[in-house]
Amino acid sequence: MTADLEEQYYKIYRYCYFRLHDRQTAEDITQEAFLRYFEQEQSQAVERILPWLYTVARNLCMDEFRRQKLRPLEEAKERFLTETGVPAGAFPPAEASAEDFSPKRFPPERFSSGSAETESAIVARLDLQNALAKLPSDEQELLLLRYVNEVPVHIICRITGLSRFAVYRRLRHALKQLRLLLGKE
């Protein structure tokens, strides 16, 4: 099976952005990961390319993080919110409903959140982001890998170095925490 490189690019980029909150650096690292892979390997099978790309991207992100001074949390949050297209001064929200999160509205490949979202969807998303930010970052990472990028669990184990058992346990814990946090909001 050949990998769909375009899709993998978006997923790795999304992952790098999660770690760095900087579009340019995230793209640079994504491209670097791909280039390094192709320097070594011409094979295009998904099973080989995926763990490699994530591992390289992860390492590069960690290097980058160490290289830059750690930004104050608030500044990072502010940039995050701006870069993801939240309009300044959102209208008071209409009723949010589960409809706002229907899969049709957020197909997996879409990235630009902003133009087509309703006000309620924007606010609901913000709520979720706030809740997510309260989770430890390794749990956030697992949520992103498992549910958003749909990385198979055995590959997550290879990337993070955790056992299957640990991955499932932390995912369950993360989801539970989210439900609690959302409930308390």
Partner: protein
């Protein structure tokens, strides 16, 4: 991105269709103007590897025209093309995407994007035999873009398009010219003036003018008439 055409010629038993033409093209839009039978289509077919030159060579960034690598970077819209009768617009794009080596998911995504780009998204599931000439032409343009080509060769692409479609097409070509080498042939002078960065005029198998055209449409038409002493089509 550089297309190097080196003394290319095509000779048939009783006729020389293209006579030792040399050209180097870079990113941007190049318009090829000339009457029917001037050799435009023959030249373009040689640039696509469909006809083998009787002399000379064509390379794109050093890659020869006969290789698979060259075709990977090539998008082509022929003057006339057919279709398998059972195909819908979408089927057609997906079939050609598969032939261009796109993986299924990428093919589907690209097809959707291109159908929207040429405004065929509402007609994508209708059979091609129900399409008008302009719709079929737009579908042809869409298929040429499937593999995100570095070299785009378009043979009379605006034929069959109504004025509004033609304007949209010009804008599309101008956009594409920013990222690829676009060579389009036409006998409609206004197309060239509006979108081409470089103009080539071909007569009897030879390029008799090559360069930028800074003046207007009437001037180009007058110049063309001077060279050929014939009527051209106004659009």
């Amino acid at each position: 991105m550089e297309l190097v055409i080196d003394r290319i010629s095509k000779q048939y038993q009783n006729k020389i269709a293209v006579d030792r033409t040399s050209l180097t093209l870079h990113q941007g839009v190049c318009g090829l103007l000339g009457a029917n039978g001037a050799g435009k289509t023959t030249l373009m077919r040689m640039l696509c590897g469909i006809l083998k030159p009787t002399g000379g060579s064509v390379t794109l960034d050093g890659v020869d025209v006969s290789s698979e690598q060259y075709r990977e970077k090539l998008g082509y819209l022929p003057q006339d093309f057919g279709y398998y009768p059972e195909f819908t617009g979408r089927d057609f794009l997906l079939y050609l995407a598969a032939l261009k080596g796109l993986p299924k998911a990428a093919a589907r995504r690209k097809a959707e994007k291109l159908l929207a780009l040429v405004s065929l998204e509402h007609d994508a599931d209708k059979k091609i035999k129900t399409y008008s000439g302009g719709m079929k032409q737009r579908l042809g343009i869409a298929q040429a873009l499937l593999n995100d080509p570095e070299l785009l060769v378009l043979d009379e692409p605006t034929a069959g398009l109504d004025p509004r479609e033609r304007v949209r097409f010009r804008n599309l070509i101008a956009e594409l010219g920013k990222r690829s080498i676009v060579l389009l042939s036409t006998h409609i002078v206004s197309d060239i003036v509006h979108i081409a960065d470089t103009v080539l005029i071909m007569k009897e198998g030879q390029i008799c003018f090559s360069g930028k055209w800074e003046k207007g449409e009437e001037e180009l038409e007058a110049f063309y008439l001077e060279l050929f002493g014939e009527e051209t089509e106004h659009a």
